[in-house]
């Protein structure tokens, strides 16, 4: 298999992305599709928006380009890249979870799960009232609506 080959990815909005195969096979799902010969024209990724797909490609590129060495500098560089990568708003993080889960990129998924967990864990609330408020907010994050209880609340 030559690595100069490119792969076309078509996303949810019908937009196409041309990427090097070596980058495209980072996600296991795409690798399997290529192996199974489903990638002759383009790979449809109907679950992924262009914003998220370009983020995913950016991530795969970085990880492919960084030399696979044990060098401390390279490792630290990748670490700081990942650190910046997950500095996103909550909606994007959830989108990324769904996309990464679909594309099967385990390493990055771990990092995003941890980021969301850190986001919702907050500080240990001292008061019952505060605790209820945090719980309501967490609930709202995972049901997709803002809870009336704290919409009406001045903080």
């Amino acid at each position: 298999m030559s690595y100069s080959k490119t792969i076309v990815l078509t996303n949810y909005d019908g937009e196409t992305f041309v990427v090097d195969e070596v980058v495209a096979v980072e996600p296991q799902t795409i690798e399997h599709m290529i192996e199974d010969g489903c990638a002759n024209t383009s790979i449809p990724l109907p679950n992924v928006t262009s914003k998220i797909l370009s983020k995913v490609i950016e991530h795969c590129k970085k990880h492919v380009e960084t030399p696979n060495s044990n060098e401390k500098a390279a490792k630290a560089d990748l670490k700081s890249f990942d650190f910046d990568f997950v500095k996103a708003d909550q909606g994007t993080l959830f989108d990324l979870i769904l996309a990464m889960n679909y594309l099967n990129i385990k390493e990055l998924l771990d990092l995003i799960y941890q980021t969301v967990a850190d986001m919702i864990k907050g500080k240990t609330p001292e008061e019952e009232e505060e605790m209820r408020r945090v719980n309501a907010w967490v609930f709202s994050c995972f049901v997709g609506v803002t809870c009336l209880y704290f919409k009406s609340k001045k903080m």
Binding site: G91, T92, F94, I97, G122, C141, F142, V143, G144
Partner: protein, 377 residues
């Protein structure tokens, strides 16, 4: 601050309705949040209480701190994650105390009755009296001769009791209690103290590791394999000949699946410590870390005290998941509790002891690691 966040994306709802994805997020929370979030919704409550979640959560044991009498000492000042109880709960009076910590469970004793406690869920079980009636109970009155064996992969624990059947600590009967059967049983093996020269009262301190109970009664390590019920012996690390072994090691304990022993290199060089690790097939001790106590000299109120046993004690050796970065030792230097990182040799002052504990030896046997665990037993 909560108000500033915009109405959440619908992808949050998709993640929230997918138990696999939700579990992946929730298992990364600190246990305090896990308890709190049980009241987020009925769905979360059942998810977070389910055995499959608690087993997954407990899979990676992390220890956030130590119990020392009625104090709790967090290892990480930035993230103290206080336990969901007050340490005083264990010490309502002087009679109730922790004897041993083993992979998340505590063996406690109050008025000669023994309890196995999960301090995180506050669940406890009473251990019935050993075989032999009230006579037997009396001989075990001295705290130490009970030991707890618990491995996270098992749902059951065992308690091992060494019962002095000779008087004067010459012959110990071994009794084993299993939470599975709820009964005590006398093992065919017994411990003849004369086979292990030393101080038989040192059988009071026991370490569970690798499916066996370990004691250091004197010059040897004695261990009892629980599955085969076999008693075995092994020598301690070799010492400088000029220093006869007449002292108990500075520290002896388990962490992250490793059995550790800390000793000063020799009587002459008390400020140099070796941290040994036992190979898992018992083929020998290897030096895992070396520590120069002189590095800690600035912490002493006066520098003559470096290496002085009464002023310096090793409380714990903790190995984390990421060994390279997180192996550390918790030591007492006069009134300070210090966390010393083996790898980058940095140290951090994490706790101040109250004055009545400063100038006395405390002993690592009186310090018990806290390991949060959600599973019931």
């Amino acid at each position: 601050m909560v108000n500033k966040l915009r109405v959440t994306h619908e992808s949050g709802a998709i993640v929230g309705s997918n138990d696999d994805l939700l579990t992946e997020i929730l298992r990364r929370l600190p246990f305090t949040s896990v308890f709190r979030f049980k009241s987020v919704s009925k769905h979360w409550h059942s998810l977070l209480s389910h055995r499959s979640f608690t087993l997954l959560y407990d899979n990676v044991p992390v220890s956030p701190g130590l119990f020392l009498h009625d104090l709790y000492i967090p290892f990480d000042l930035k993230n103290p994650s206080p336990p969901p109880f007050r340490t005083r709960d264990f010490y309502p009076n002087r009679d109730f105390g922790i004897m041993q910590s083993c992979n998340g469970l505590l063996l406690c004793c109050s008025r000669r009755k023994y309890y196995v406690v999960n301090p995180t869920t506050k669940k406890f079980a009473i251990i019935p009296s050993v075989i032999g009636g009230s006579d037997a109970r009396r001989t075990i009155g001295f705290e130490g001769f009970m030991g707890l064996a618990y491995h996270r992969a098992d749902l059951h624990y065992k308690v091992v009791c060494l019962r002095d059947v000779s008087r004067y600590g010459r012959l110990f009967q071994i009794q084993i209690y299993s939470s599975n059967t709820g009964k005590w049983r006398i093992s065919k093996q017994s411990i003849r103290a004369s086979d292990y020269p030393g101080d038989s009262t040192l059988f009071c301190f026991v370490v569970y590791w690798n499916g066996a109970m370990h004691w250091i009664p004197g010059v040897d390590l004695v261990y009892f394999k629980l599955d085969q019920e076999k008693l075995k012996m092994m020598s301690l690390p070799e010492r400088d000949l000029s220093s006869p072994r007449d002292e108990a090691p500075l520290y002896f304990g388990e962490s992250g699946g490793h059995l550790h022993l800390v000793e000063s290199i020799s009587r002459k060089h008390r400020s140099r410590l070796n941290v040994y690790e036992m190979l898992s097939d018992y083929s020998g001790w290897v030096i895992k870390y070396q520590v120069e106590l002189d590095e800690l000299r600035p912490l002493y109120n006066n520098s003559r005290g470096v290496g002085n046993y009464r002023l310096f004690e090793v409380f714990d050796v903790v190995r984390g998941e990421d060994e390279e970065e997180s192996a550390f030792m918790v030591v007492k230097i006069q009134d300070k509790i210090i966390r010393y990182n083996f790898v980058n040799k940095s140290y951090e002052h994490i706790f101040d002891l109250p004055s009545h504990l400063c100038n006395q030896g405390i002993g690592y046997n009186n310090v018990h690691r806290y390991i949060p665990m959600l599973s019931s037993f």
